[in-house]
Each structure stands twice: as structure tokens, then as C-alpha cells.
């Protein structure tokens, strides 16, 4: 099932920190994030709302909110070039061409006033210098590739004439147009129904297997991770909490947060315990606001294992086999309290 | 390139019938396109204009008028005595003096194409004054077919025999009136004098460009976009005096008299005591100086008649005495009914004089209720005879042209024939008797006596109070020469250097 994995990383992110300057002050949304993506592999970035998943994706493409977002530190090595310091025209050569992106909301990520043909063709004409006609022909092939029926007719249609699933397929076709080396998919299925979600995930996986494109799959859904990921980075409050291969992570979650998630999602909990659960485990409290981050380990206030050690930020420590955890108590057995 | 004279008239030509429209713009328009039987020269004498000659019978009852040769209307039809008869009859229905003339007339007939005969019922001294009347209600001569229109209906065809022809298709009401030279006009041979003598159109085209805003007009004059700016607000004159391309000159030889016109039939001014108090309240200088600061432009004229009138007299005039005025108000039994002032808001005489008047009236203990309105509303409001509480009024301020304030008979403000008099409706038998007497008195010295007596009587009943005499000024481009000095601003004979 796994495609051939070329072990040289296509992307290597080192100590990436991103800050947003907002009216009330500067906010560190990503701190010291490091990960690599190998050729042809699927890396999942998983975490709850607001933990910095989309910001990571945008930082990679250098599309952080204008005037607000800034890469504060770190390097983004893509095929040997540091994207963090690349000039804008060179960056434009990479976007849509060598790194492509699929966004969360298929409903709003396509321009409502331009035809499908124009929106996909634009990428081809920009990066491959195709003529209008050539672009149209290639677009049709791409649409067929993502299984859009009646592709030729769709060229002249507008996004509102398509369903959500179709639109996401169009986004995928657009992303694939220039055969990118890296595809970033930011929650590509969150807005879709389960039956459609399954179709899209299958399509992405199929394309990856075929083209060898590396994929960064961003999601908050552990189920999706289990379904598609080769390796996983779990984010919490802008930092990596845990990093491992998918198999290892699900078999042996080490960070209390990862474990908590697996216990509190009904479907996961049910599966893990193998029988109907009488009561879900809870992670108490809520995700901290980026404005009042706890001083030490960000998860400490919600963690049943927290103690004085947690007043210091734990570093991500490799505990062997590529499984790294950022927790002072990673080795300890989990004693989740029932009830909050 | 034709020779065009561009004028910013003081007002807008609202209607083209000088008989049904009593305002001065219609009158000025009339002088452009019509001719008159008689005209007033610069010595205020009435001289024949369209007439070759006229005769009076020994008993003074029969008048014969003979038209000059070669007079034609703009439609190329010759001017005949039939046109004269029709025109005078129509005019006689509307104009006050005209009505008196026809009241005294036994017959008015065309004898032949050139000759018209007027037969009076009794001796009446004002035939020439009526037919040579220079200001509002001018007996212009128009074609019979047009003059047959009832005097209640406004004419629509501007055909006359005057020195200019109106281009009605180019008329943009509210903005622009265009006249072209009448090539067929036959001027008299005698030298121009006042409104009389030779009239000649020396430019190909005259454009009246109405600009409501004085500042705009001033800019246009300074920039050479217009040649004449009528009624330059006096405070702008100092600016014009610095401009070498512009000169200033009086607009007419007589000027205007500013009048404080009270409503004599409604409280509080139906009380003669209060009207008398106003006499003591007024110091013409105070009013004038609030409006003009060039002494040459105004005159403190202690008379109901214009200072240049042969009937001028200061008999019975009082000096300002606010204490006395206050006392008179107190004695009058004034009950506090507010003086409703129709306060015209257009910048200019009315506005300034109203402001001063309001302050002075408050000073002497009257309650004042100034109601601001534009001139259009004012003219409508002043027709109301109702009490002030029901939309009526007590006071307005106006500035009739000097020609209307010269003698007891044609006097706008002194007429006291009740409902038929000017708005304010003063009613005094004695004054009316004196005016009738004046009309039939041919001798100047005797007339002067009557005028004096009338003034003394008017001092008692106070139909209105004069606030002084002003010269209206126009700004004129230095490229213009031969501008007539007349009682009315007229535009013939002007030459424009290119």
C-alpha cells in the first residue's frame, strides 16, 4: 500500500517560528517547529483548531497574512533552497509549480467569478507557458484525471455550478497541473460529507502513489491520519508535541495530549477499548489562547501528569525509531482522571 | 466673429410679456425689443420717440399722434396706428396710470395708417407722463395681432419694433436671453439723450447671462467673460476699482429708494401711532452705512420723493429720536403683536436693511418676528391681507426704482387708494384727493405745492417710510463706449471694441 519512499527529504523545516503582529500585541503562533517530508511520502500535521496547522502551510509557501505574519526564525529547505529567505519573484516560480496547495474550504477557495477552465488554465499558462488552447486541452485531461465527468463542458462553468466534492476535485486538478514535488493539503475533507470525504482521500492517495508527489496532509481528524499518513506530527499550541510514524503513534502514543485525544474521540475510544465505552475520557479545560500561553509546557494546565517539572518547556526528544515526544513525563503511564 | 455684448442682468427674465409682468426684468426686456411712442430724455422731459410729431388741441382734449416713416416690426410688417391703439388699450388695462388715462378718455382711434387720435373726456395733465412713462408698466407698441390678447393672458410671441430682436429659440429661462440686432430699425435723427433720441444697435448680438450668484458674476467680469455686471453689490466695488479692464458706473440716472413698507390694515402697523414711531426710529444713514461704505453711492434724502425729483421737499421731516419712538410705541397701546418681517434672504438690499430694521424695532420696544424667505416667497406672501397669525405680514423692505418714486401720481409708495394701492394697502382719502388734483394741475409750481401738502399728510398717516436713496452700480468692461445715461438701464447705442 505505501508507495516507494525515497529517503532523501524533499522538504526540511528547521526550527520554524512564526509570529503575527496583531493590534493587541505580537503573537507567537509557531515555535521551533521542525519536521521533514521525504519524496513520495505523506506527512500528517494533526492538531486542534488554532494550533497553527494552516499557519505552517502558509509559512511554507510564504503566504502568511500580509503585513501581519512574519517568519521569525528557522529555515525551510525545499530541495536545497531556503524558502524562508528566497526573494519574491523566485518564490512565485515555486508556488503552484513545484509546491501546490489545496485549501480547507472548497466552497470559498475557488474564485466565484472566473470559470473553472480559466482558473486551472491560468496555472498552466503561467508556469508552463502554454497557449490558451493547449491549456484548455490539458485542463480537460486534468479534470478527467480527478474523475470529473463531462470535463469539456465544465471548462466554461463557474464554481457555484459544482457541488462541494466537485469543487475540491477542481482544486486538486489545479494543484496537480504542474506536477508539483510537494502537495500541501490543508484539511481538504473537513467541509465534506463522509461519503465524499472517502472519495477525495482515496483520490489523493491514488495520485500520490502514481506520481510520487510528497504530501503534507493537514487535519484535525485522527481517523484521517490513520487512514492516509506515513508519518505524523502532532501539534499543540504552536509546538510539536509528538512525532512518529503513523503505525507507531497509534500503537504507542506517548504524549498525554495524543493519548487524551485518542481516548476522548468516541470512535477512537470505542475502537481502542474494543467494546462500547460507558463514559468518554475527557481532557479537562480548553486549548489555551495564544495570548495567555502558560509559561512552561502549554499542555500542563490540562494534564493529569503535570508537576513542577512542567514549568519548563519540554523539548522534542527522540525516544528512538523516529518517535519523538515533547513531554517531561512521556515515559510514565497515563492516569487520566475520569470526569473533569 | 460677431460683436457680442454679454451682460449679467440684475435678475432673471421670468416672463416676456411686459404688460402682464410688472417686474423690472420684463420692462428691460421690453426696451430691447419694443419701441415707445414717447421717451424721457436726460432732463426728465418727455420727447417723441416713434412719433414724427404730436398735436394737442387748444382745449387740451384732443391729441393727435403721427408715426414716423419706415417703422417696421420684426416680422417686416409696418407699424400702423391700429397697432398703437391695440397696444395702448391692452396696457391701459393693467398699468395704474394707464387705467387713469383711459378713465379720462372718451375715444382712442386710428385715423389713418400713421395717425392716431386720442380724445379726453376732461382736461387731464398727465397724458405725456403716462405715454412716456419710463418704468414699470411702460406702454410698449406691439403688433395689433399680439396686443389683442386679453390683458390677463401672457403673450408668447416677442415681436416688436425695437432695435433688437429676441431669439426666442435661444432663450433658456433662468440662464440666458439672446437678442440680435434689428437690421430694419430706423433710428431718430436727433442725438441720444436719456431714453430719448436716436437708438442704434451697435453690436450684432446681446446676451443676457443670468448668474444668481454675485461672486460668480464678479469672477466672470474680472475674467472678461462678461462685459456688464448689473447691480454690483457695493462692497465688491473696491475690488473692481483695482481692475484696469473694468470701470464702474451708475446703472441709471435716478437710483432707487429703499422703502420700509408696513401693512396698514393689520396689527400692529394698523395703528398710526406705531407707524409714526417708525418715523422717529429711522435714521437713513444707519441703514445706508450698513449696506454701502462709499458715501457717493447713497444719499440721505429726507423726502418721499427722489431728491432729483422736481417735487422734492423735506417738509415735515423728523430726525431720528429713539426715545421718542419708544415713547410713541408705549403710548400707542401696543399689545405685543409681533411685527412679522418678510425677510428676503438673497444677499443684497432687502437682507441688510431688514436686519437693521429688526434690530431698531426691537430697540424701540416692538416684538419682532423675522420670517426668512426667498424673494419668490416674499412676493407671494406679501399679497396676503390676513392677520399675521394667519400667514399675513407686517413689514417688507423693497427698493423700487427712482422712476417710480418721482411724483405723487406715479408714486408706488404714496398711493393710498386702499385695496388698489401697493401691498400694505394704505387708505387715505385726503392723499387720494390730492393725487387727483395733482393729475389735473398742469402748472409746475402748483403741482409742487400739492406734492408738499401731500408729503405733510403722508407724514401723518405714514403709508411707508423711506430708508434712503441708493445708486445702483454696474461694472462695465473698458472695451465698451457710448453707454446711455438713462433712467433705466438700456443697451442700445453701446459700442464694443474688439
Amino acid at each position: 500500500m505505501s508507495p516507494p519512499v525515497n529517503s532523501a527529504p524533499i522538504l526540511s523545516v528547521e526550527n520554524l517560528s512564526v509570529s503575527l503582529s496583531l493590534p493587541h500585541g505580537t503573537m507567537q503562533v509557531l515555535r521551533n517547529l521542525s519536521f521533514t517530508v521525504n519524496h513520495g511520502e505523506t506527512l500528517a500535521l494533526v492538531g486542534e483548531s488554532g494550533c497553527g496547522k494552516s499557519i505552517t502551510a502558509l509559512a511554507l509557501l510564504r503566504l502568511l497574512p500580509r503585513r501581519i505574519g512574519r517568519i521569525a526564525a528557522g529555515r525551510i529547505l525545499f530541495d536545497g533552497t531556503d524558502l524562508a529567505t528566497l526573494d519574491e519573484p523566485a518564490m512565485r516560480q515555486i508556488r503552484g509549480n513545484r509546491i501546490a496547495m489545496i485549501f480547507q474550504e472548497p466552497m470559498t477557495s475557488l474564485n466565484p467569478v472566473l470559470t473553472i477552465g480559466r482558473q486551472i488554465g491560468e496555472v498552466l499558462r503561467l508556469h508552463q507557458g502554454l497557449t490558451r488552447h493547449e491549456a484548455d486541452e490539458k485542463t480537460i485531461r486534468l479534470l478527467e484525471r480527478v474523475r470529473i465527468p463531462d470535463a469539456r463542458r465544465r471548462l466554461g462553468q463557474y464554481p457555484h455550478q459544482l457541488s462541494g466534492g466537485m469543487r475540491q476535485r477542481v482544486m486538486i486538478a489545479m494543484a496537480l497541473a504542474c506536477s508539483p514535488q510537494l502537495l500541501i493539503a490543508d484539511e481538504p475533507t473537513t467541509a465534506l460529507d463522509v461519503t465524499i470525504q472517502a472519495q477525495i482521500l482515496a483520490l489523493l492517495d491514488e495520485i500520490r502513489a502514481e506520481t510520487g508527489t510528497a504530501v503534507i496532509m493537514i487535519t484535525h481528524d485522527l481517523g484521517v491520519v490513520a487512514e492516509v499518513a506515513d508519518r505524523v506530527v502532532v501539534l499543540y499550541a504552536g509546538r510539536a508535541a509528538e512525532q512518529a510514524t503513523a503505525a507507531e503513534l497509534f500503537a504507542n502514543p506517548r504524549h498525554p495530549y495524543t493519548r487524551g485525544l485518542m481516548e476522548s474521540v468516541p470512535h477512537m475510544a470505542l475502537h481502542r477499548s474494543g467494546q462500547p465505552v460507558a463514559r468518554l475520557q475527557e481532557i479537562k479545560g480548553t486549548v489555551p489562547s495564544p495570548f495567555d500561553m502558560p509559561p512552561g509546557c502549554a499542555f500542563a494546565p490540562r494534564c493529569s501528569l503535570a508537576d513542577d517539572a512542567c514549568a519548563a518547556v519540554p523539548a522534542l526528544q527522540d525516544s528512538g525509531g523516529g518517535h519523538a515526544v515533547a513531554c517531561w513525563h512521556a515515559a510514565e503511564p497515563l492516569l487520566l482522571k475520569v470526569g473533569a | 466673429q460677431s460683436n457680442v455684448l454679454r451682460i449679467r442682468p440684475f435678475g432673471d427674465l421670468k416672463g416676456i410679456d411686459p404688460v402682464t409682468n410688472s417686474d423690472y426684468m420684463a420692462r428691460n426686456h421690453g426696451y430691447m425689443i419694443y419701441d415707445t411712442l414717447f421717451a424721457m430724455d436726460d432732463k426728465l422731459q418727455i420727447k417723441p420717440q416713434m412719433l414724427e410729431k404730436y398735436d394737442t388741441s387748444a382745449d387740451g382734449l384732443t391729441w393727435t399722434f403721427t408715426l414716423r416713416d419706415g417703422l417696421v416690426f420684426h416680422d417686416k410688417q409696418p407699424v400702423t396706428s391700429a397697432d398703437v391703439v391695440a397696444s395702448l388699450k391692452r396696457w391701459g388695462q393693467r398699468d395704474g396710470l394707464g387705467q387713469q388715462l383711459f378713465a379720462n378718455t372718451a375715444s382712442l382711434e386710428a385715423v389713418d395708417a400713421k395717425t392716431t387720435k386720442l380724445v379726453l373726456k376732461q382736461k387731464w395733465g398727465l397724458v405725456l407722463d403716462a405715454l412716456g412713462k419710463p418704468s414699470s408698466g411702460v406702454p410698449f407698441i406691439m403688433p395689433e395681432r399680439i396686443a389683442k390678447l386679453p390683458a390677463t393672458e401672457s403673450l408668447t410671441d416677442p415681436v416688436g419694433s425695437g432695435p433688437f430682436i429676441m431669439k426666442k429659440d435661444e432663450w433658456v429661462p433662468g440662464s440666458k436671453v439672446v437678442y440680435v440686432k434689428n437690421p430694419d430699425y430706423k433710428p431718430r435723427s436727433d442725438a441720444p439723450s436719456g431714453m430719448a433720441g436716436a437708438k442704434q444697435a451697435n453690436v450684432d448680438r446681446v446676451e443676457w447671462l443670468y448668474m444668481p450668484d454675485a461672486q460668480t458674476a464678479l469672477n466672470a467680469l474680472q475674467a472678461g467673460e462678461i462685459d456688464i455686471f448689473e447691480e454690483v453689490p457695493p462692497d465688491m466695488l473696491t475690488l473692481l476699482s483695482k481692475n484696469r479692464k473694468v470701470k464702474v458706473a451708475p446703472q441709471d440716472s435716478l437710483g432707487v429708494q429703499v422703502v420700509f413698507r408696513m401693512n396698514s390694515i393689520q396689527p400692529p402697523f394698523n395703528n398710526p401711532k406705531i407707524r409714526e414711531a417708525i418715523r422717529y426710529m429711522v435714521d437713513q444713514n444707519v441703514f445706508m452705512r450698513a449696506y454701502v461704505d462709499i458715501p457717493a453711492l447713497y444719499k440721505d434724502c429726507p423726502s418721499f420723493y427722489m431728491c432729483s425729483s422736481p417735487y422734492y421737499t423735506d417738509a415735515g421731516w423728523v430726525k431720528q429720536d429713539l426715545a421718542k419712538a419708544r415713547q410713541l410705541v408705549k403710548e400707542s397701546g401696543y399689545d405685543g403683536t409681533p411685527v412679522v418681517v418678510l425677510h428676503g434672504t438673497e444677499a443684497g438690499i432687502t437682507n441688510t436693511f431688514s436686519s437693521v430694521a429688526e434690530q431698531l424695532m426691537r430697540d424701540i420696544g416692538l416684538k419682532v418676528d423675522p420670517q426668512a424667505m426667498d424673494w419668490g416667497t416674499l412676493t407671494a406672501r406679501r399679497t396676503s391681507k390676513k392677520p399675521t397669525s394667519e400667514g399675513g405680514w407686517s413689514l417688507f423692505i423693497s427698493a423700487p426704482t427712482g422712476a417710480d418714486m418721482m411724483d405723487p401720481l406715479g408714486h408706488l409708495g404714496l398711493r393710498s387708494n386702499c385695496d388698489s394701492s401697493w401691498f400694505g394697502w394704505p387708505c387715505d382719502e385726503q392723499i387720494e384727493k390730492m393725487r387727483s388734483e395733482f393729475a389735473v394741475t398742469p402748472d409746475l409750481a402748483k403741482r409742487q405745492d400739492i406734492a408738499k401738502a401731500l408729503q405733510l399728510r403722508a407724514n401723518e398717516v405714514v403709508p411707508y417710510v423711506p430708508l434712503g436713496q441708493l445708486h445702483l452700480v454696474r461694472g462695465v468692461s473698458t472695451s465698451l463706449t457710448d453707454i446711455p445715461r438713462a433712467a433705466i438701464p438700456v443697451y442700445w447705442n453701446i459700442k464694443k471694441a474688439n
Binding site: - | 462692497d235 475690488l239 450698513a290 438673497e346 436686519s355 437693521v356 420670517q371 426668512a372 419668490g376
Partner: protein, 298 residues
């Protein structure tokens, strides 16, 4: 615990609420210095307007001897063509402009909110009411105001009415569209489910949530009313001429622009400053309430 609950319960609710609101408002102002600055300017203008009559000579006093004096020791702002003090008149004009602005804003807000609420909630009346509003909107506001003024005569009251009428439809539409979107909010469904009756629903759930855009719009109305007052006076259809309003002063002063520029300049500058301030406050308020609305149409 019980004790502290008691004290909370016994302390007069409105006082606590007022204090809390006051503190919240102070905090709001501290975060938005532009609004604070604008409010200070407007408050200064209001106090000047209220105090002027006691400090300065009568703005209506005519004194031809002193006409057209340039600004100097005796008359700080000079005098006009009737010898009246421009300083007195200008400060009095503050009163008039503020009165017109505030009254118009109040009238428009009150009428607009009422009409908008009715129209947004009683769908049967909606199309009729909105057609009427369309009709009024179709007539250029200045024209409608001039017409109303010349028909009903000049007085402060008529100026307020004449300026308000053309502004009402815009406010009504704003409120209506806010109401229409609020109607769709789940909290309205929740309120109905909780048994809220219609009057209370409007008063407690709908109205307060329309207030933010209404407040912003009201400041714009305030500003534009002051301008419109000046424009009407300029056209001779404004406040009565003996009233020392900025519009009248500029209308009178325009004949003297070259000869006595101070006549129009002082009221002109004051008007521009006040209107600008109110507009800037409006913008800041809008940005503070919803940054995404920045620059929305007025």
C-alpha cells in the same frame, strides 16, 4: 461563598451595571484614542456652544460703524458687513450646527430604526414600506431638502426635518438589512424556543444587535447634516438669516471672499474641523466595532 453571593445580590444591580459599563467604556476609549480625541473635540464644541452667549457680545448686534473690520485686537475674528463680531457668530454657529447635527441624527435614528424594525419583522408591510423608502431615495436629498425648506419656510425646526427626511430611508434600509440577518441568527430561534414574546424579542434580542451599525451610521448622519445645513443656507434655503449659523455666515461671506475673507473663513474652518472630527470618530467607531467594515459606504 454564600456571603459573597449575598452582597452581590444586595448591591443595587443598576449601580454595579453602570460601573461595569462605565469601566468598559473607559477601557474602550483607552484602546481607541481616535475616538477619545474626537469625543473630546465634540465635548469642547458643545461646551463652547453652551457658554458662548455668556462670554461674548450678542452675535446679532448690528453696528455699521465697525463693518468689515479685519481680525485684530478688538475683534479677534473680525467683523462682517453689518459690523457683527465674527467670533461671537462663529461660536454661536457651533450651537446651531451641533443642534442640527444632533437633532437630525436623533430623528433619523429614531425614525429609521422604527421603520427598519417594522419592515424587517412584519414582512407583510415590508414591500410597501420599502417602495416608499425607494421613492424618497430616488429624489436627490439636497433637492428634496430645498423643496421642503422653500415650501415650509425657514426655521431651525424645518431645517432639521428637511435634512432628516432624505436620510431616513438609508437608515431604515440599514436597520432592515441588519434585522433580516439577525432574524436568521440561531439566538433568535433560541429566544423563541425559550418562549420570548415578540415585543421582548425585538427589544432585547433584535434591537441591541442592530445598534452597532446604527451608531456608526448616526455619526455619519450627524456629520452630513451639518454640511447639508451649510449647503442649504448657501442656496438661501437654510436657517433664518438672522440666526448666526455657519452656513449663513458662509453664504453671506461668499460675497466678501476677496474683500473680507475672514467672514467665510472662520465658520468654514470650524465647520470643516467639526465635521471632519465627527466623520473620523465614525470611521474609528466602525473600525472598532467591525474592522472588516472599514470604508463601508456611508
Amino acid at each position: 461563598m454564600a456571603l459573597s453571593d449575598q452582597t452581590v445580590e444586595l448591591s443595587p444591580g443598576w449601580l454595579a451595571l453602570a460601573l461595569r459599563r462605565g469601566a468598559a467604556f473607559a477601557g474602550f476609549l483607552r484602546r481607541h484614542p481616535t475616538i477619545l480625541f474626537g469625543l473630546v473635540v465634540v465635548l469642547v464644541a458643545i461646551s463652547v456652544a453652551l457658554l458662548a452667549p455668556y462670554l461674548l457680545p450678542n452675535p446679532k448686534a448690528i453696528n455699521p460703524i465697525y463693518r468689515l473690520r479685519p481680525p485684530g485686537e478688538e475683534f479677534w475674528f473680525g467683523t462682517d458687513h453689518l459690523g457683527r463680531s465674527i467670533l461671537s457668530r462663529s461660536l454661536n454657529g457651533t450651537r446651531v450646527s451641533l443642534a442640527v447635527g444632533i437633532l437630525v441624527a436623533t430623528v433619523v435614528t429614531f425614525a429609521g430604526v422604527t421603520i427598519g424594525l417594522i419592515s424587517g419583522f412584519l414582512r407583510k408591510l415590508d414591500s410597501i414600506v420599502m417602495r416608499v423608502m425607494d421613492g424618497i431615495m430616488a429624489i436627490p436629498g439636497v433637492l428634496l431638502a430645498i423643496a421642503l425648506m422653500s415650501l415650509f419656510g425657514s426655521s431651525l425646526q424645518n431645517v432639521v426635518i428637511a435634512i432628516s427626511i432624505p436620510e431616513i430611508p438609508r437608515m431604515a434600509r440599514l436597520v432592515r438589512s441588519a434585522v433580516l440577518s439577525i432574524r436568521e441568527q440561531p439566538y433568535i430561534d433560541a429566544a423563541i424556543t425559550n418562549g420570548t414574546k415578540l415585543p421582548r424579542l425585538l427589544e432585547r434580542h433584535v434591537l441591541p444587535n442592530t445598534m452597532a451599525p446604527v451608531l456608526v451610521q448616526a455619526t455619519y448622519v450627524f456629520a452630513s447634516a451639518m454640511i447639508l445645513e451649510a449647503v442649504l443656507s448657501f442656496l438661501g434655503a437654510g436657517t433664518p438669516p438672522e440666526v448666526a449659523s455657519w452656513g449663513n455666515m458662509m453664504a453671506e461671506g461668499r460675497q466678501y471672499l476677496q474683500r473680507a475673507p475672514w467672514m467665510a473663513a472662520f465658520p468654514g474652518i470650524l465647520l470643516a474641523v467639526l465635521v471632519l472630527t465627527v466623520n473620523v470618530v465614525g470611521d474609528a467607531l466602525r473600525d472598532a466595532i467591525d474592522p472588516r467594515l472599514a470604508g463601508r459606504q456611508k
